[in-house]
Amino acid sequence: MIRMTVTAFALLSLAAAPGLAQEHGDHGAHADDHAHAGETAETTRPEAITEALAAGGSLVTAEVNGMVCDFCATAMTRTFGRRDEVSAVHVDLDTKQLQLVIGAGQALDDATITDLVRRSGYELVSIRRGEEA
């Protein structure tokens, strides 16, 4: 019985695996939709980031070391998502990038971002703003 249960879970898991599932790539309104490395940011930015930028926000891109799983990404989105200055957060595990949109009229300096990444449990490598982000 236990063996059958484990086998069933394995089969279900493979059926749901990205690349095997037909619907992969259709993340719809998922707030953390993916902008893969090498793709044009303008055309692949997550909807939440695009909307926050359209509302007058400014983009900050941070390179972060150590982000290897969903717990890492969850830590980052929750830590930054609860800040009033941040109107959108996106984590891309492929590029190891954290993207933030700072709301119109708001500010979040580099020292604070560095500290928040550390409090999430990770290590900040670099921060880019404006056109460079």
Binding site: I2, V6, L14, A17, D32, R78
Partner: protein, 214 residues
């Protein structure tokens, strides 16, 4: 083993090194719920992370063979985290203290109990390796265990996808009839939730664990 011996051993472990729980310390302000059943015991742990290097929580553990139930507090310290662009490694030390009493067929009353251990892990998005060692005294004599785990992800998903890992855990529990066993298991991981299911053939026991972060 008395508490002085236990504390000394815990200190020794902490000074040396510190793996089965996935990330026993969360982000600052984060709560985590963990439930696990292995071949020897079942436990639940709810912990809070006030600082990115510490978590504190309430733990309850049922030693099924002895019919002993432990309830107490657990503190976990992230001794060090090594960062690289594509990997991270962690060293943790933990200890807990509370009381344990007999349940069901065990008439034993409440006694002081405690445990201490170390965990270490290294992971990329494809590979996972971990080690854990624990000593405990739940009032029925000192106990010790160690476990090592290796895992591979057949595919690499993005944040929010369903991640699947194929893993094997080898554990050693000297006091048991089967001191060393292997447990093949599957890990499913999506967003803040992680679920594992496995089987230990040598003892015909199921393995299951669940972790949720909020």
């Amino acid at each position: 083993m008395n508490f002085k011996t236990l504390a000394a051993a815990a200190g020794l472990f902490a000074c040396a090194v510190s793996a089965a729980q996935a990330r026993p310390v969360s982000y600052e302000g984060g709560w985590t719920v963990i439930a696990e059943r292995d071949r020897a015991s079942s436990y639940g742990l709810v912990h809070y992370t006030p600082h990115y290097e510490w978590s504190v929580g309430l733990r309850t553990e049922w030693m099924r063979d002895e019919d002993l139930l432990f309830t107490g507090l657990q503190a976990t310290h992230l001794v060090h985290r090594w960062f690289a662009p594509d990997s991270q490694a962690n060293l943790y030390a933990y200890a807990g203290a509370g009381e344990a009493h007999g349940i069901d067929a065990n008439p034993r009353g409440s006694e002081a109990a405690g445990f201490a251990g170390v965990m270490a892990d290294w992971e990329t998005r494809r590979w996972f390796v971990s080690y854990e060692a624990r000593i405990s005294d739940f009032g029925a004599g000192a106990d010790a265990m160690q476990a090592a785990r290796i895992g591979v992800a057949p595919y690499v998903g993005d944040f929010g996808d369903l991640h699947t890992w194929v893993m094997v855990e080898i554990d050693q529990r000297p006091e048991r009839d089967e001191p060393v066993t292997a447990t093949p298991l599957l890990r499913f991981f999506k967003g803040p939730a992680l679920f594992e299911i496995g089987y230990t053939p040598a003892e015909d026991e199921a393995f299951a664990s669940f972790i949720y972060r909020f």
